[in-house]
Amino acid sequence: MPEKILFKYIDEPGQDTIKVYMKNGGYTALPKVLKEYTPDQVTDIVKESGLRGRGGAGFPAGVKWSFVPKDSPKPKYLLINADESEPGTFKDRQLLERDPHQLIEGSIIAAYAVQAHTGFIYIRGEFGYGAKQLLRALSEAEEKNFLGKNILGSGYDLTIHLHRGGGAYICGEETALMESIEGRRGLSRVRPPYPAIVGLYGCPTVINNVETLSNVPHIINKGAEWFASMGTRKSTGTKIFSLSGQVKRPGNYELPMGISLRELIYEYGGGIFEDRELKAVIPGGSSTPILTPDKLDVKLDFESVVEAGSMLGSAGVIVMDETTCMVNVAWRLTRFYQHESCGKCTPCREGTYWMLKILERIENGKGESGDVELLLDICNYIEGYTVCPLGDAAVPAVRSTIEHFQEEYDYHIRNKTCMVKGKPVFK
């Protein structure tokens, strides 16, 4: 077993309490930061570690922090994105339910680095237990003066609030998340300006994913070099892969960046359910294009997955076997995006609805020739034409299934029935 960072104590009973967390070495990074480092030094360490955002885009965390203007008279904010709602992704939930203090400690350090005195954890509305856990952990941390005024005598103040989400996928998108905290509909904002300059309440804001921040205490304790020594050169550290679908052992696996897809599925996941044939894999959450079995040896790091024609995204790996109908996959995922489109911009709102209706027809044996070309054309005018990336995210499911499995669409249209026997598995 390779070294685990985030999940090292995840199964230890009581790790969610401050007592056990501290016994296992928790809250040692924070005092060290407050005593030994200036905010800029913290940012530099994180930069050197190569830590990249785990929320989907993979943007280097330290670099993001350094965008916050130092001379701004406005208050600065740290937002902790715990809205995890990308289909196929369920890692943040485990992190915050089982080891909330790891996240809180990382958040405090990040807030210190950008000199924010207020932070918000935006937690997905459905995570009732997680919210309870975090609330308890926050008050424990406060009791020990890891939060609050004059933290550990350093003169640095920080309050972290918990905000339960509005129940929409779009609220995980950083600017919609800010709108939501401010009390409005979760609609994405136009960028520029970027959050680091004009974010929450119009103030400089840093937003990071739960997993991203959970890594921070370990980087402080063991050093940037140690972190960078794991994974690949450009994608450092470990990554939690949420493995789901038709595998024998689904679940969260923390593995070094760059592990191969084959290893993940066959070694850690135990292979395909009932030993069927693998048909396709979504490597990075529902917003990423599918990969076909010929790509099984792709290394799971940001660069390699892109080279293979997809994206690492949030590392929600969804495995589909031979019994899966690809038209059905496209339909099901499009239904998700159509439902979650915030409705603000035309191409996403209308385009996803249109695609859904066409896919529904094809699925129901009412497809017509020309439908596939039309779907591809709609994809072309959603991707790149929308306000926020949700629109872009709706495209891969349709486009990549057509690209790799057009014969299934054609079969559906011609024969008014599915090419795959034994479906549906997704429902």
Binding site: A168, I170, R185, V190, P192, Q338, H339, E340, S341, C342, G343, K344, C345, T346, P347, R349, E350, G351, T352, Y353, W354, K357, I358, R361, L374, Y381, G384, Y385, T386, V387
Partner: protein, 876 residues
Amino acid sequence: MDNSKVKLTIDDREVEVPKDSTILEAALSVGIDIPYFCWHPNLESVGACRMCLVEVEKMPKLVASCVNPVAEGMVVHTNTEKVIKAREKVLEFVLTNHPLDCPTCDKGGECDLQDLTYDHGPMMTRYREDKVRWIVDTHYRFDDLQLGPLIYRNQNRCITCFRCVRITREIFGYSDLGVFGRGSKTHISAPGGEKFLNEFSGNTVEYCPVGALTARNFRYKIRPWLCEQTPTVCPMCGDGCNMTAWSHQRKGHIRNTSRRNDSIDEGMLCDRGRFGSVFSNHPDRIKSPMIKEGDTFREVQWEEALGFIAEGIKKIKSESGPEALGGIASDLVSNEEAYLFSRLMRQGVGTNNLDFRGDRKSLLGAGALKILFEMQKMSVPLEKVASFDTVFVIGTDIASTHPIYTMWLKRGIRKAGLRVLAANSRKLDFGIYSVQNFTYRPGGELALLLGLLKVIVKEKLYSDAGPFRGGQFSRWANSLQKTNYDTIAASCGLSEERISILARALAESENCLFVVGQDLWEGPLGSSCLLAINDLAVLTENNGNPRGGVNLLFDSGNYLGALNWGLTPDYLPARRHREDKVGREKIESLWNCRLPEAEGFDTIKMLEQIRKGNIKGLYLYQSDLLCDFPDWEYIHDCLSKLDLLIVHELFLTETAKMATVILPATSFVETEGTFTNTEGRIQRFQRGAAPSKGVRESWQTLSRLAQKLGAEFVYENPPEIFREMVTLSSDAAGLDYDKLGARGRIVALAERVFEPALYEVEFDSYTSGDSDYPYPLLTGDLVYHLRHLTNYNEDMMLVAPEAHLEISPEDAKSLELKEDDTVRVESARGALEVKVAISKKSPPGVVFLPRNYSDKNVNKLRDREKTLDYVRIAKA
């Protein structure tokens, strides 16, 4: 402010624009057309519709030009293959779920979606799926949902540009319209169970780019292209917004839309103006002259009526002299008509008994008016209002009396951190925008003003470098000592501490504008209040030069015009005082007559003279005295005493029913001329709809009557009157009727510059109550009701069909009253049964009734001899 510019290239043209422009603004500024739906010049950009995509060199994707700022050296293409294709696709998307019901849609002919599809759309759609359809249970026609009394929504047609919601929230500060649902279920609605109604609701209809929002007054009535459009000016309040009047040959004046004037309205109208000023086509218009015979009126020919009037006037004149006649006009008539009426009364009849103010218990005399004219020199134009750091609004519920003025204040709050401080006896409410309220007790306005002056002097909050130091100043400062804080606090109900907070805020602001409501300067303590406001502005050096200012608000469409053009006894046209020899001679030579020497009476004195039997004939020109005058019993008695009552009116009002002779008048859409708004801006309105058959334009009637009285004035048309009257003032002399321009012209009619002076002000207040009648009764105009005019407008009567007694939640609780309960409101004078409206605007212990409801006339409770009326309330 950063005024720097950047250069960029759009479609091979070099363009130089301010640094913070968007690409779209840059393109539009040089006439390059980029199609758009969701963008609007008054709103923050949201980039929702994606119609405005353009190609920018070195950018990988097309960019939404409405949100992307320009940059130095940027190269933009608005017409490449890629852009053209993108527009086509966006339109195809927009139309997928659009019902394409253009043949039955009210927006047909003026719809952005039609126009842009025509220009940029695909020739056909590839969409063959079922459309999302919003079926409304309570549907009227075509799935229309009534969002509020005036506005309907057809969600099927909505293209979700959010303009309506953004206008409502950003510009006007209200949250009564919102976006609900998401994805294909996104829709516009009023929040849970409430109705969409605010004083600006009509703007959403105009700026909805499609037919998703329609207005009650125009939907399914007529095709827009069958109407004629005429530039006009709204007469419904002193702001003077510009409108386009739409009229149809048969149906007459049927609706208004905005006509953007960036100095006043920025393309917005309030509902009172947009909807409420449509009354000219009402069936109850007077269509023929009439003479009273017994209890009824007989329709007569014009010449007969005018002859009858001329004879009547001559008879009174020969028996009792010209002083036995008087004339009262309204403050809604045009400058030209005001001038003409002044000329008719002074020259034709030969009297200075002349006024246009019919709704006050006390009036400013010539002396106070002189101060008012002087103080107007401190005024600032509307478009500058948003740039102050502090605005002190006193004595008006400005959101009701001056909606568009309030829009500028809200803009200041939103964009520039303007602080609005308000002192009034009812609370001001700007929706989501904040106002700091200092609510004084009715009658305590002067006490508060003196308190403010005292604090500023005591705490030395004025600049030592100012011009008013030395002996004269200390005498003035000493005069303030006569009133102590206890008296002040007792009168206005605000503690010394509260007054100090306000005083400091005013004195310490960078740049403070005083906005003074008409109820304050025309109220019982009006002239003293004027002096105190003057002192405040002068002492804090906010007298407009170079900073600060004082805006005296004029509530009605042409109050200032009536004042300027000769409708008070002492001021002749162009503010020439009766005793100013030069001015007098100028007028006499222009009119070729001798002006009457005798002092004239104002409305209140005229009524006294009528009561005494000294005035026997009265000419009411569009003045509904019986409805307006704050003592019904008294005015009724006065009017019944007259031998000759001439009523020149639009409608058969209660006043008209008492007339000896009635002449039909023409409304502002049936004639042409100019109005003067609260800034002193002269603006032209044009003739839109023809008056009904047989009705003469009022200026013709006035001229013809003058001729019959032997005054030879002959005018061809209103412009000729304008050309004549402006020669009377050196300030207005250069004005060219045809060149007033799209923004009109501010004319001060002032010959000298403002010379700051401090005046000693005597303390006064009128707050004492009476245990039988514990509630002070305030009155005023509602947004949705103005004079008798809105009685003839369906929209306004739908929103505000009757007078409601507004009381505070606290009083409602202690009196155990619920919304819409009927109560009996009783004063020593009389009683009314009205419904209750619980309003947070009312402070505890103070009640409010709107004016000018002819059936529930608040003036039946009022007594002209009491400065403040008191009432008691009981559940009916």
